[in-house]
Symmetry: C2
């Protein structure tokens, strides 16, 4: 049964990595060149917008982190290490739980920041007299929209992963006494 | 020991409510009127920016939700209801866990969206030719900055609350068998 949960976790982490990498690639390789005035052309890349730059960094880092967690699974599948003491297990489980939480929140936050920036680029702002950008760089904006969609699927999967790691931590505690370990 | 955790949860929820209400009030009651050109004056309110409007709605709702959870605590402190069956306890614990998660993510996301909008208002964007707003409405922007700070403290406290509700759910499961309840 333990094995079934590990299988689920690996499966979810692989899917999360795919979506994170897809998001990073879609944003990073998105360029569009447009002639603005006679011979003057302007090239739009993700570097024009801090929110997109941070999105690329954070999604890549999150993908790398999940990759490391997968490696951990490969190692802990070795038979000799399965005799870990409970205290060691708890140590790893707590760290994984906390790191998973941080990864989800960071990915979610950078995505939302990029989403807000995209809304401004799409609609502009009348109150602030900011002009729309997406009516000029339409294809660029469409690709960013796709990236943001993938970028929202990733944190949703990662919340499930972090629920699994919360389960792994908290089921070790007694249901009767506060923050006491269960007897073996 | 059970009581100690409940006390912590109530304490954290009260603090979270305070910060949520403070954020909502700071944003909602922030106005600044400025003479733009001769006799024409412009008034800045949170309604100029969708991100701030949503922030007010979401933080108020989250405060209301936490208030309801506090009421639940008052009721479940009654002696007669402490004889609940485990299945009923789990039902409540799972719903609380899921709602807490949703509340944290929504509060965090709207705050981050507002933060991104504030960054644009503060720095403008050279690439997009968007002008700065905060050099005109300085006092308005300072108050929003304070609101965002409070708005980030609230989700941090709410993550702790959701960790407590995760603990309440998952400690009921067996540490040996996958998703099996513990024997009494």
């Amino acid at each position: 049964m333990e094995f079934r949960m590990a299988k689920w976790e690996v499966f979810l982490r692989v899917i999360a990595i795919l979506f994170l990498v897809l998001t990073a690639c879609l944003v990073a390789f998105d360029t569009q060149t447009k002639v603005v005035f006679l011979m003057i052309s302007k090239k739009a890349t993700y570097k024009d917008l801090d929110a997109l730059k941070i999105l690329v960094y954070v999604t890549s880092t999150a993908a790398g982190y999940n990759m490391l967690q997968l490696c951990k699974h490969t190692f802990s599948a070795l038979p000799t290490i399965s005799n870990f003491k409970t205290s060691y297990y708890m140590y790893i489980a707590w760290i994984t739980f906390l790191l998973d939480q941080i990864a989800v929140y960071l990915t979610f936050a950078t995505n939302t920041a990029a989403f807000q920036a995209a809304i401004f680029a799409l609609n502009g702002s009348e109150a602030f007299q900011w002009m729309k950008i997406c009516n000029k760089f339409t294809r660029f904006c469409e690709q960013i929209a796709g990236a943001l969609l993938c970028g929202y699927i990733a944190p949703i999967i990662m919340t499930m992963i972090s629920a699994i790691s919360a389960y792994k931590v908290f089921r070790m505690y007694s249901s009767k006494r506060f923050m006491h370990f269960k007897g073996k």
